[in-house]
């Protein structure tokens, strides 16, 4: 987490640094991001950066945390609206994100997330502690899920289901950046994946 020296900075200066970081982290993933670029863009001295943050990991983690909270808030709201139907919540969530991307509203922000957010076990190197948590890793949200129709005997199974939903759907979205698929094609893909998970592949 950032040091007090950063938190005490004027809003303007903080914003400048955050924007520079957003630019760099949306350009390349963490491993390739350079502190040099960030300090040059933000027009601060190299030493200052280390006065504010432990490392670039620290900065990225800080930036992703705010997103984690947004996602959690969004999911909580949707769970209420959809009476605990986790499948529908996932569809709503991805609908929202893809639409945001298409509208290009803070596009850089979303690109940064997709470049750098890994499911918690995607990576075994430096990144392993920076993974953003899927929204349903919070107990409070898990408890809001309607379990009556799910074949779950225990909490482990529920977690497995949540992980499958998270991993599968995220993958579909990432492909947007790679293949530059159309919005409709992406949507078809994640809807189909969720259907498969719900009702199974075999007839």
């Amino acid at each position: 987490m950032p040091k007090d020296t950063f938190l005490n900075l004027s809003e303007e200066k903080k914003k400048k640094i955050i924007n520079a970081a957003k630019k760099e982290f949306s350009r390349v993933p963490l491993e390739e991001a350079s502190i040099k670029n960030i300090v040059e863009e933000a027009e601060i001295a190299r030493g200052s950066f280390y006065q504010y943050f432990e490392s670039k990991e620290d900065l990225l983690k800080y930036m992703l945390t705010s997103c984690e909270k947004k996602l959690e808030e969004f999911s909580k709201q949707k769970l209420i609206e959809n009476r605990g139907d986790i499948f529908q919540v996932y569809i709503d969530m991805y609908d929202f994100i893809t639409k945001e991307l298409i509208k290009s509203k803070d596009r850089e922000f979303y690109i940064m997330i997709f470049r750098n957010v890994k499911a918690s076990d995607d990576n075994l190197g430096v990144l392993q502690n920076i993974a953003i948590k899927g929204p349903f890793q919070e107990t409070s949200l898990i408890n809001m899920i309607d379990k009556t129709n799910l074949k779950v005997n225990n909490d482990d199974d529920l977690k497995t289901i949540i992980r499958m939903l998270y991993i599968i759907t995220r993958k579909a979205l990432v492909s947007y950046f790679i293949k530059k698929d159309s919005y409709n094609k992406i949507r078809d893909t994640y809807i189909k994946m969720i259907e498969y998970l719900k009702y199974g592949i075999l007839k």
Copy 2:
């Protein structure tokens, strides 16, 4: 791909380089791997490395290709044994790999793979072209899959199913390294995941 200068090397020297690379790539993922360590371990000059390979990506790619072929061979065999049942083939495949890991037979090799193999759209940086292909990306293997019970209307759906199987099951295995789960727990997880995909989560 490696240059001829490498391919023309004596088997002994090639092996020394491959082993040094295996050591480095199983220690850390590609991004953190250092050519310096590899050339020191293999006792070759820095310049020689660049005479053999374009880059460390090139070397890793080369090493993963051999594994890709093995996996393809294995899958073809299992598809015949299981009369095209792709679910069973995945179970057999992961049974085999986890057993290999537990027996510690060429453990370094498997660790290297899990550290560095990403599903083809996991990563948006340098790694995007190094992804190992899941065995069923080969048309010849796809054609061996028994489609009579699968709800597929077109090739895209089949590919989606294959991707889901691949992504989901691989994730379960990777957790072995992180959580150091027992063999039985890992097996339970990927069997359960495959069951969910087969028959659906909803009753």
